[in-house]
Symmetry: C2
Subunit: 178 residues, 2 copies
């Protein structure tokens, strides 16, 4: 019989050949809680940044990466890898940010295929203006609610999860390189 389909079923029987191991009741509850939290948080940050900075969270993340890079510029592929997005998505995103005047493309000196995305002064200003609100939002939703021990746990758990999805640091044939 199904209990709480489709995550757990047939809990009392040994897994048939071809049947996956369904989630236990606790795993299921945790998974839903995880989905719940990540969805709400991402939506909330997107809305906050759209309102205060005129861009979605991912785009903000791109500006952050650029701001931290030496000379505030990065090769497209490098940036895509850092941000864990496809190069296609990055192309579109940079096009938009360029139209806003927050990023500038320039040719890569040594590789004529390459492009550098450079954060402009205006882009930096926008980022500087948006950062306090963003950090506050992150704090309020996460770090101010968790104990130091829980913060440590969250770091360890997400480290493990990320590792399983992107084995060590290898860039080898990962989807975002397509």
């Amino acid at each position: 019989m199904f209990k709480n389909w489709p995550y757990d079923r047939c809990m009392t029987t040994a897994p048939n050949p071809g049947e996956p191991r369904w989630l236990t009741a606790e795993e299921q509850a945790v998974w839903r809680s995880y989905l719940h939290a990540t969805t709400l948080l991402e939506d909330s940050l997107d809305r906050q940044l759209q309102r205060d900075a005129g861009m979605p969270h991912v785009y903000y993340g791109l500006l952050v990466k650029l701001a931290e890079a030496p000379r505030r510029r990065l090769r497209m592929t490098e940036l895509a890898k850092d941000a864990k997005i496809t190069r296609s998505r990055l192309s579109h995103a940079i096009a938009r940010l360029e139209k806003n005047g927050w990023v500038r493309r320039e040719d890569c000196p040594n590789d004529r295929r390459g492009q550098n995305a450079c954060l402009t002064d205006r882009g930096f200003e926008v980022l500087k203006k948006a950062a306090p609100g963003h950090v506050t939002a992150v704090r309020q939703a996460v770090f101010d609610r968790l104990s130091p021990e829980q913060v440590r746990q969250l770091g360890e758990i997400t480290r493990i999860m990320a590792e399983s999805l992107q084995p060590d640091g290898t860039d080898a044939d990962l989807p975002w390189l397509r």
Copy 2:
């Protein structure tokens, strides 16, 4: 001085008036790890489900909610609340799922404004076929890698995060009701 702009800066000085409390080095590392993990996981599940079931993760989630509901149907607003998405997004999603023949709309008997989304038999079959692969993917990325203690911790942490973003169970003027 900036250390690792823009998440932490001025760590050694007391917060100026108007300055937010920046993230500590550890909080920052945890936050990046969190973003990293959640991005990779969501992308991975989206790709897995797109490949195996022809729909993104969110749409799959909608089918799951419907499958679990009494008589496999839910009011649109109810479904939107459950799935934590806006009604607009849901309208589009159901339109697409309806075109696929996986969901059917029907008028609500007692409220003529209302619509029920009903999972069709075909939709149920698609779900049944996709579920094993999905559960396996979730297991491989999360539950098979974490200790029972970590699973418990993750549940508690995400519960707290979700709570802060959607205070108790109230449906009061939340963004997805717009």
